[in-house]
């Protein structure tokens, strides 16, 4: 597996950017992907678009590590089995992330120091694509010229511009989203993301050159297929892609609740500046 992917990489680097994209498409065409599975006919909104309205959530272990990984002890021993890491099959197509060598080293350093460095620990907004598969629901509110994606974690929000594409005035945590329809798929082009967010708790990272193209496709009455093509020439040797299903929160009374986590991060961020230090590490 590793040898194969290495071979593929060296071949790919000889090709032009256009050829790489073409190869990726060919490669995907032969890979089993639920997105291509039985042509499910998405229900339509009253204005004729595929209806993506709903509260959605990933049901996987990507937030621990987007790559295939076995179960492991969590970083805080006192939390024991309750907060350790469940194994996951991974969501990266092909399994591995094509880091440049120095970037791969930085991921390892991030992982080693994750309690201090993971933006999730600090209640910083999750960025794109991580916000999609954190263990919290998010809601798509599908308007006519705009769509709003609201994430329970940290109350992060994205407004997807569905009109003529616009440019961001500055980088931000959740980036700048221009969307359009390709058939029944919503395609969102996300740029101007800052370099402060991670892909997961394993320290997988990106730079401010990150460009994400997301694709949301209904694959059933209560499921979406989510794909994110990741491009960041500073960090990766080529584009790569992750994909996963997202599931509808089907509770009759499902709604987003507040997870304004600033309160939960203050001790870890500012506890050392307390007048009276807290005793112990728990409430």
């Amino acid at each position: 597996m590793r040898i194969q992917s290495g071979k593929m990489q060296s071949r790919l680097t000889k090709w032009s950017v256009v050829a790489v994209a073409g190869a990726a498409i060919c490669l995907l065409a032969v890979m089993p992907s639920p997105a291509q599975a039985p042509a499910y006919k998405a229900p339509k909104t009253k204005d004729g678009k595929a209806d993506l309205n709903g509260i959605w959530q990933a049901m996987n272990e990507a937030n621990w590590d987007i790559r295939p990984h076995g179960a492991s002890q969590g970083p805080v021993f006192s939390l024991g089995a309750a907060y350790s890491t469940p194994a996951g099959l991974g969501v990266v197509e092909g399994g591995d992330i094509p880091y440049k060598p120095e970037a791969a080293a930085k991921q390892k350093a991030n992982y080693a120091d994750r309690l201090k460095l993971d933006p999730e620990v600090k209640c910083y907004m999750g960025g794109v694509p991580r916000s999609t598969y954190m263990p919290y629901p998010f809601q798509i509110v599908q308007g006519t010229d705009t769509m709003m994606f609201v994430y329970e974690y940290a109350g992060a929000v994205r407004v997807i511009n569905m009109a003529a594409p616009t440019k961001a005035p500055a980088d931000s945590w959740m980036g700048w989203s221009n969307g359009h329809w390709e058939g029944d798929s919503l395609v969102v082009d996300v740029t101007s993301l800052n370099d402060q967010t991670w892909f997961d708790r394993a320290g997988n990272w990106h730079s401010d050159q990150l460009h994400v193209i997301e694709r949301y496709t209904r694959i059933g009455p209560d499921a979406l297929q989510y794909e994110a093509t990741i491009d960041d020439p500073k960090v990766f040797t080529r584009q790569w892609k992750m994909s996963m299903p997202l599931y509808r929160r089907m509770e009759k009374n499902a709604q987003l609740l507040e997870y304004k986590c600033v309160e939960f991060a203050e001790e870890v961020l500012y506890g050392h500046l307390r007048k009276q230090p807290l005793k112990g590490d728990s409430k």
Partner: protein, 339 residues
């Protein structure tokens, strides 16, 4: 510490007695929306009034009516308004809406203006505001927030005393806005702020979402007739449910976090806020609200302002992520103690 408690109690008694002398009959009726010209209500594909867009709720209308205007709810015209302003009767900061007495805010955010926005070129004509002849956001003959109940006054005083005594102890004892937990204006009811008074409404199937740029606070409001979430779940923005009454979106909110303040007073577990959104022309949404919390105020009060459509976007306000001030303030306090 004892002196602080005493002086805030005296201040409070003064505020309460002033308010009760002014107290008259509750008045919650709002002025009818101005007649539309050749304009028809735009509708979403499912037939509801289309409220979608990016709006500003910036205003120079003060929350409370300037005392010299008595029961006058509207200026007769712009000239009347200008004359009143020249006479010093116009409330409000230079860049934003007036706040009630500074001392009344238990979180210590009670500055009349958070920043003087005119210093940043954000005041005056650079900000698009809905035209209005209102003399105050609070409607009715009194035009101000009613008196607190004795219990609410006590609650507020205790909280203020605690905050005062422990203000530099830790992040958790700093004001909510400084902690980037809530700004204190996003409500509901949503109150204009001196700057960044930008909000966006998007309507989806069975939900209306409203994002306020300050501090990226978003409500996704179910409009499908479901009951409120269980009362055990208290939230900083409460729990909102919407329904349509004719062409007006009516939103009712309950279950506020007990540390939430509305107009400087900490709300109780029975607080209920009703908002009414009515699009009245191509550019304007009329926003009305009623705050009803018998454990906090002696009677309900209502308010109204118009929000105006602006071009452009709501931008990301990453308040907590960029909160360098918190660590700086606390380390400053620790350094001072060592001196």
């Amino acid at each position: 510490m004892r002196r602080h408690v005493l002086s805030s109690l005296i201040a409070l008694v003064a505020v309460v007695s002033l308010a009760s002398t002014l107290a008259a009959q509750a008045q919650v009726a709002a002025k009818p929306a101005p007649a539309a010209k050749a304009w028809t209500m735009p509708r979403t594909p499912d037939g509801k009034p289309d409220l979608q867009g990016v709006y500003s709720n910036a205003t120079t209308i003060p929350v409370a009516r300037p005392a010299n205007l008595g029961a006058k709810e509207f200026y007769t015209d712009e000239a009347d308004k200008a004359a009143s302003a020249a006479a010093g009767g116009r409330g409000g900061g230079r860049g934003g809406a007036a706040r009630p007495a500074a001392a009344a805010d238990p979180e210590g955010n009670g500055l009349a203006v958070h920043y003087d926005t005119s210093q940043f070129g954000l005041g005056g004509p650079t900000v698009k505001r809905a035209a209005s002849l209102r003399t105050s956001i609070i409607t009715g003959p009194e035009g101000r927030v009613p008196a607190l109940t004795p219990d609410a006054a006590k609650r507020g005083a205790e909280r203020r005393a605690f905050q005062q005594e422990h203000q530099w102890d830790s992040a958790q004892t700093r004001p909510l806005a400084e902690r980037c937990v809530t700004w204190g204006f996003e409500g509901p009811p949503m109150m204009p702020v001196g700057y960044n008074s930008t909000l966006q409404i998007v309507q989806g199937q069975g939900f209306v979402s409203i994002v306020q740029e300050m501090i990226h606070d978003t409500r996704v409001i179910p409009t499908d007739g479901r009951p409120h979430a269980p009362a055990e779940i208290k939230q900083w923005m409460g729990d909102s449910r919407g329904h349509w009454e004719g062409d007006t979106l009516v939103v009712e909110t309950v279950n506020y976090n007990p540390l939430v303040s509305i107009q400087g007073a900490m709300v109780s577990d029975v607080a209920k806020v009703t908002e009414r959104f009515t699009r009245i022309d191509a550019d304007t949404v009329q926003y009305q609200f009623t705050v009803d919390d018998p454990k906090t105020w002696v009677k309900p009060f209502s308010g109204e302002y118009n929000m105006v459509k602006i071009g452009g976007n709501v931008y990301e306000y990453a308040c907590h992520e960029g909160n360098y001030g918190m660590a700086n303030n606390l380390s400053g306090a620790r350094a001072t103690e060592k001196k």
